[in-house]
Symmetry: C3
Subunit: 279 residues, 3 copies
């Protein structure tokens, strides 16, 4: 199985699929091609969320604002998964989520000949490399990558001629929120950060859901906001705070856009203050 | 074969596909993931139009404004097809279209353990259930659901431990238009309703195309409008009435948006009056 | 393998896939379904760019502003590929790119019975024809179209009952730019045309990249603009000229939209004048 992720929209990813079909008949699954443009950080967030749902696979992820510059192209083993991506940090958070521990990640650089185009390495470098990695793993394990063992995958990569170990990949770490406790050890306030905005305008923060456990209300940058389990718990157009399917605190609007209502963008800071009011 | 429909946009459906791939290698076909948000009625309209084109399959459809509330999750057999969907009515119109008659529909509720997330039952409930239904049918029929008989499908569902018969699913019925006849029995006027707006802004009504047969003009809410077979029969920017591929009367604009020009939204009423003018 | 291209958005293409699955289990790959609406010229540009990346396949492409009029429906062999499309020119530029030379293209018309709908020939004519062509080639070659020889493909089409040779298909030729040379034979100026705008607002012209080789600056309709290899070579919001992955000169904006900044639309003329300034 080979998953594909990019910010290319349509129809560029089809060119990647055509190239891949010249190398392998691996099943192709699109993670998405409308990820935020040129934003490795958003890509890292979404891939860390989505890729661990898959059985072992090769994941080709091209969000590549540095295309045409000297940035490396990487092949990263994490557990029995492989992520093929530019060296801009996007692959490291999902790789850590796919690995059992820190030592379970190998990073390789692709010794690519000069690609045909300066701007479409998705087609000219990443897609064919991902296809060849998929074939190498299949050859090593005698089956599909879905069933390959960790050592099959590691051995397959070690035997590929055009990969060399990379020692210092660009990394990207999502900041931890800062938690203030009250006298009894409860959560008094949390300073977090906006990680991503989804298609619905939901504002996804770096604050773990458990920090809001058992709260009915919280102040978001000063404004009292209900903490609910479902959007329908407030009227259409009303603001709410909830825990998303990724386990993070979100600032949303029922039947509306949270990014507009809360005036928040990726990278913005956000402060949650406990408020034990009854309203 | 397993089809997927949602209003999740991207990349959430990829998480569903990852989960499915842990259970089955059934072929996955996207019906669409940009259906109108939180609108079971629009979903019912589109699924009733699209699903009957498929050979027997398992259809997972998650448009779910009630996620996290107590609404049931359903598995519905209709003919040799199965629809897996929340209990909000969206599945019933397509189920009736897939069945040979009213008795050809079995409705089951999923006895789900508490799902991992309160907001992403697509990943945590519907996708794994659809995958397991697909496997159960394959086991029962000794092949793919495409070739399973009605009784194979019925038996497979009856043998699943976590399904129990549901007696009173939420239903959703598209209203019939009201037809006024003239003295000779011809159609004088039709009072209909807007069912859906497509991506192009075409306004799809509940009025069957045959009611406009052999007309050249019709008054739409009072305004004389040409009845044409193709958009190109009027100039760009001009309004028109035509019969869409679903067999329903549409109010459209050539190279423009019908919803804007006619000021119509889903649920609006619309009156067509016969007008035998020659212009 | 069967690729699908349209301007239908969602969920109409799923109806085509359902129909195809009643005829063949050929792998389905979407080229894209959000191509510019009703624009065979843009479709021709994109398909000429994307289809040659694929191994031999059947390509179903429905951008069809003339649906319901008397336009023919075509099946075109080009090399070992087949393009199934309306007769509006969209298929000819990609067919020439897929063929080895001008004689390597056969054009057939589909003798379609009256299709069920006047507006959805994608479902009623093109999808089932593409599926049947795929099956005919598989039968002829004893394998998948990916491995069929040119003569297998030619023979398979010749044996289909409902195809007849078409002698005069609508063609569509992308204009060549006009080049003015200076006294030493270098490029002094190029008059080109805008072929397409991509999702990012990048303005793709008909000017081959090599005409700008070794330039640092060029005047675009009078305005001095840097010629760069990567978007990142200019500041966000700044205009640039570069050579896209298709080998054509593009007028773009780093982290912005070129179509807005340069005020250009498909079909517009654009003049590039050499300027050996040092700025």
């Amino acid at each position: 199985m080979l998953t594909l992720t990019s910010d290319f929209g349509s129809p560029y990813p089809a060119a990647m699929k055509g190239v891949i079909r010249r190398h392998t008949d691996a099943e192709l699954i699109d993670v998405g091609h409308d990820l935020p443009r040129g934003d490795p950080r958003a890509a890292a967030f979404w891939l860390r969320f989505v890729l661990p749902e898959f059985p072992p696979a090769v994941h080709c992820a091209v969000i590549d604002p540095g295309v045409g510059t000297g940035r490396d192209a990487l092949v990263i083993r994490a557990g029995s998964h492989v992520v093929v991506a530019p060296d801009n940090g996007l692959a490291m958070p999902p790789a850590r989520a796919l690995a059992t521990d820190e030592t379970d990640v190998d990073v390789w650089a692709i010794d690519a000949a000069d690609p045909e185009s300066a701007t479409f390495h998705g087609r000219d470098v990443f897609a064919p490399t991902a296809a060849r990695v998929h074939e190498a793993i299949s050859d090593e394990s005698g089956g599909s990558p879905d069933e390959a063992s960790r050592s099959d995958v590691a051995d397959a990569l070690a035997e590929m001629d055009d990969l060399s170990r990379a020692s210092d990949p660009v990394d990207l770490v999502f900041p931890d929120p800062t938690v203030e406790r009250d006298d009894s050890g409860g959560v008094a306030a949390v300073d977090g950060e906006v990680l991503a905005i989804d298609r619905f305008g939901n504002v996804i923060t770096n604050v773990p859901g458990e920090l809001l456990e058992d709260r009915d209300w919280v102040r978001v940058d000063g404004d009292l906001t209900p903490v609910v389990e479902t959007f329908g718990a407030v009227d259409p157009g009303e603001r709410l705070v909830t825990v998303g399917s990724h386990g993070h605190v979100e600032c949303d609007v029922n039947d509306g856009r949270g990014d507009g209502a809360f005036d928040m963008r990726p990278g913005d800071s956000v402060r949650f203050v406990a408020d034990n009011v009854s309203v």
